[in-house]
C-alpha cells in the first residue's frame, strides 16, 4: 500500500513538472501558432542559470531570477528572431527554433562544459518529508509539487482575471478576432513567448537539481513534452494537464509492474509508453484527448 502511495506521489510530481513544461509550450502554440522546438532548451537554460545564481547568492534568489532571465532571453528571441521569420510562415518559425535548439546546446557546452554541473538541492529542502512504514518521501518532491501547483493556480488566475489574460484566452479560440480588435498583438506575442520560456525556465530551476543539470537534459525531455501536447490535443491547456499527469503516472506505474510480453517486461518499455499512447490515440482519436483544432 505505501508502495502504491509513494509511486502515485512520484507519478504526480513528475507529471506536474511535465505540465509546467508543456503548459508554456501550449500557451505559445495556441496564441502564436508557433511550436517552439527549443522549449526544452529553455528548460535547460533555467537549470544552468539557477546553478550559476545559486552558487553565487543562493537557491531562493535563483528560484526567482533564473526564470526571469530565461523569460528575458525568450522575449529577445521572439523580438529579434521569430518576428523576422514570421513572414515566411509557421514552418519557418518551427525551423528557426529547431536551429536555435542546436545553438543553445552548443552554447551550453561552451559555457558550462560537457558534463554535469554541481547543482544541488538546497540543504533546507534536503531530507525526508514524511515516512510511511519504511518508505520515505523527500521534501524536495513535495516542494516541486507545491511550486508547480502555485504556478498553475497563478497562471489560471492570470488568464481568467486579468485583462491581458482575457486577451490571451480570446486569442486561444479566436486569434483573428483579437487582432481585428486592435490589440497590440506583437507585444502580446512577445510577452507570451517570454512567459512560456520563463515557465520552462522555472521547471528547469526545480527540475535541474532534482534530476541532473547537463547539456543533454533538453534532448531528453523535449520529445516527451511534444508527445504530451499531441496527446492532450494541440493547443488545449486542459488536455496538456491531463496528458502530463497521465504520462507521469503511466511511466511510474509501468516501472512497478513485472508483467512481461514476449520476453519484454513492461518496465523495460516504460519510457517508450508515451509514444505508444500517442500512436494509439492517433488511431482512435486523432484530435487528441481534448483537442479542438486541426494541426
Amino acid at each position: 500500500m505505501e508502495f502504491f502511495l509513494v509511486q502515485t506521489l512520484n507519478g504526480i510530481s513528475y507529471g506536474l513538472l511535465l505540465f509546467m513544461l508543456s503548459s508554456g509550450l501550449t500557451l505559445v502554440f495556441s496564441l502564436m501558432g508557433v511550436l517552439n522546438f527549443a522549449h526544452a532548451s529553455f528548460y535547460m537554460l533555467g537549470a544552468y542559470f539557477a546553478f550559476q545564481v545559486s552558487a553565487k547568492i543562493g537557491f531562493w534568489p535563483a528560484l526567482v531570477a533564473a526564470p526571469l532571465l530565461v523569460g528575458a532571453i525568450g522575449m529577445l528571441v521572439e523580438r529579434w528572431g521569430l518576428r523576422q521569420v514570421h513572414k515566411h510562415g509557421h514552418v519557418a518559425e518551427l525551423l528557426f527554433t529547431f536551429g536555435l535548439a542546436y545553438l543553445i546546446e552548443e552554447a551550453v557546452h561552451l559555457i558550462w562544459g560537457r558534463s554535469a554541473v554541481e547543482y544541488r538541492v538546497p540543504a533546507e529542502l534536503d531530507g525526508p518529508l514524511f515516512r510511511i512504514i519504511g518508505s520515505q518521501y523527500p521534501i524536495y518532491r513535495g516542494f516541486m509539487m507545491l511550486v508547480s501547483v502555485t504556478v498553475l493556480v497563478t497562471i489560471w488566475l492570470a488568464l481568467t482575471r486579468t485583462r491581458i489574460g482575457l486577451v490571451i484566452q480570446a486569442a486561444l479560440t479566436h486569434p483573428q478576432t483579437v487582432e481585428a480588435l486592435g490589440h497590440n498583438v506583437p507585444r502580446v506575442f512577445m510577452l507570451v513567448f517570454g512567459g512560456g520560456c520563463a515557465l520552462a525556465g522555472l521547471a528547469g530551476v526545480i527540475g535541474g537539481n532534482a534530476f541532473v543539470t547537463e547539456p543533454g537534459m533538453a534532448a531528453a525531455v523535449g520529445p516527451i513534452i511534444f508527445v504530451i501536447v499531441v496527446v492532450g490535443g494541440m493547443g488545449s491547456l486542459a488536455g496538456a494537464f491531463v496528458a502530463s499527469l497521465l504520462i507521469g503516472c503511466m511511466q511510474t506505474f509501468a516501472v512497478s509492474l513485472d508483467w512481461s510480453l514476449a520476453g519484454i517486461k513492461i518496465s523495460q518499455v516504460a519510457p517508450v509508453l508515451p509514444y505508444l499512447l500517442m500512436v494509439l490515440l492517433l488511431i482512435f482519436r486523432p484530435k487528441g484527448l481534448m483537442g479542438t483544432r486541426e494541426g
Partner: protein
C-alpha cells in the same frame, strides 16, 4: 611515428575524447623524452573526431589511411570498436603490406576477445565479464550481502552485465537472492524515483549496475532522496561528471571496479599521477586511464622489439608480451589479445579534506568524493577462458 586517436572531439561526449587524448599525449611525450622508439623516432598522437558514431569512425579511418597512419587507438563505445575491428580486418585483408593495428583502451564488449577476436586488435582494459568475474569473487566473501537487485541499461553492455552477474553469482554465492532484475532504456529515463521505490520494496541490500553517465548519477541521487540504503556495485561511477552529479549522496555507498585509482596503496604511478595533474586541463583534472599509460609503454616496447614500424611485426611482438606495470605485472594474452591485469574494487567516500579517512587524499573531479581501496584482485582472478580462434596472417 604518428598514431591516430579516434574518439569524440565535438558534441556531447567531447570531454571523454579529450580526456583520453590529453593523457595519451602526456604519456607519449614521456616516451619521446626517454628517447622515443626505433632508435630515436618520436611518437605522436593525432586526434580524429569520430563523434562516437560507428559510421563517422569509418570515415575518419579512411582519412587515417589516406595519411598513411598505421596505428589507431579508440575506446569510447563498443559499437564504434566493433565497426572498427571489422573495418580494420577488411582493410588488412584487401591491402596486404599496408596493415593497420588497433589498440583498444576502453571498449569492453567481451565479444572482441572471444567470438569476434582479431589478430589486429589488442585490448588493454578488462572486459565486462572479467570485471564481473572479479567483482563476484570479492562479493562471494562478503557474507552480509543477502539480496541483490540488477538494474541495467537496455543495450548490449547492460545485457552483458546482467547475464554475467546472474551466472557468476549463481555459481559463487547461490544463497544470494536476486530480488529484482530490470532493464531500462539507455539514457531515456529522467526520473528514477519509480525504480528506486521498486528496489526499496524488494528489500535489496545491494544493486549491481553497469549504468554510466546520467543513468548512473540520476539513479544514485534518486536513491538517496528516497532514503534507499543499499550498496551500489558499479563499473562507471568514477568519472565523466558522474561523481560531481552524484555528490556526497554517494559517500560510502558506491563501489567501483577498475584497474586504477589515485589513492591506491603502493602506487608506483603516484608521481606520474601528480605530474599529470599539474598540467591537466581544468575540466578534467583526474588521471584516469592507467591502462592508457600501460598501452603506450607496451606499444613502444613492441616497436623496439620488432625493430620495425610494420603493423604485423609489432602485433607479433605485442602478443604474449609481459610488462611490469605500475601496480604489478600485466600480460597481453596471446590467445585472444586481452590484457590480463590486477583490478581494484574501490569505495567512494568523503575525501580526507571533507572529513573522510586519511587515505582518501585525492578526490574525483573536485567533487569531495574520493576512492579508497576495498580490495585488490590479482590478475589471475579476472582471467577467463576465451572462445577466440585467432586467425594469424
Amino acid at each position: 611515428m604518428a598514431s591516430a586517436g579516434l574518439d569524440p572531439l565535438s558534441g556531447p561526449f567531447a570531454n571523454v575524447g579529450e580526456q583520453g587524448l590529453a593523457e595519451f599525449r602526456f604519456t607519449v611525450d614521456a616516451i619521446n623524452k626517454r628517447g622515443g622508439v626505433l632508435g630515436g623516432r618520436k611518437l605522436e598522437v593525432i586526434g580524429f573526431d569520430n563523434k562516437v558514431s560507428p559510421q563517422e569512425s569509418l570515415n575518419q579511418l579512411k582519412r587515417v589511411i589516406d595519411q598513411d597512419i598505421r596505428y589507431i587507438t579508440q575506446g569510447n563505445s563498443s559499437a564504434v570498436a566493433g565497426a572498427l575491428i571489422e573495418a580494420v580486418n577488411r582493410h588488412n585483408e584487401r591491402n596486404p603490406g599496408k596493415e593497420i593495428l588497433y589498440l583498444n583502451y576502453a571498449a569492453v564488449d567481451p565479444a572482441f576477445t572471444n567470438d569476434k577476436c582479431s589478430f589486429w586488435h589488442f585490448r588493454f582494459d578488462a572486459n565486462a565479464d572479467m570485471k564481473m568475474e572479479s567483482l563476484t569473487t570479492w562479493m562471494a566473501g562478503q557474507k552480509n550481502i543477502k539480496k541483490v537487485y540488477l538494474l541495467n541499461q537496455d543495450y548490449s553492455f547492460g545485457h552483458a552485465v546482467k547475464k554475467a552477474a546472474r551466472e557468476l553469482l549463481a555459481r559463487k554465492r547461490p544463497d544470494i537472492q536476486i530480488v529484482g532484475d530490470d532493464l531500462h532504456p539507455l539514457g531515456k529515463v529522467s526520473d528514477f524515483a519509480p525504480y528506486v521505490a521498486k528496489i526499496k520494496a524488494s528489500g535489496a541490500d545491494g544493486v549491481i549496475t553497469g549504468n554510466w553517465g546520467n543513468d548512473m548519477s540520476l539513479l544514485v541521487k534518486a536513491g538517496r532522496e528516497a532514503g534507499l540504503d543499499v550498496i551500489w556495485y558499479t563499473y562507471y561511477a568514477g568519472g565523466l561528471g558522474t561523481p560531481t552529479a552524484m555528490g556526497e549522496a554517494a559517500a560510502g555507498k558506491v563501489k567501483i571496479i577498475a584497474e586504477y585509482h589515485s589513492n591506491v596503496a603502493n602506487n608506483k604511478a603516484a608521481k606520474w599521477d601528480a605530474d599529470y595533474r599539474k598540467q591537466a586541463p581544468k575540466g578534467n583534472p583526474d588521471f584516469y586511464f592507467l591502462r592508457g599509460k600501460i598501452m603506450w609503454d607496451m606499444f613502444a616496447k613492441a616497436l623496439n622489439q620488432a625493430k620495425s614500424a610494420d603493423a604485423k611485426a609489432v602485433a607479433l611482438a605485442l602478443e604474449g608480451m609481459k610488462h611490469e606495470g605500475e601496480l604489478g605485472e600485466v600480460e597481453m594474452r596471446k590467445s585472444d589479445h586481452q590484457l590480463i591485469q590486477p583490478l581494484y574494487i574501490m569505495t567512494l567516500v568523503k575525501s580526507a579534506a571533507k572529513g573522510g579517512p586519511k587515505e582518501a587524499k585525492i578526490d574525483l573531479e573536485g567533487s569531495g568524493l574520493a576512492p579508497v581501496t576495498e580490495a585488490r584482485l590479482e590478475a589471475y582472478t579476472s582471467a577467463q577462458p576465451t572462445s577466440c580462434a585467432m586467425k594469424r596472417p
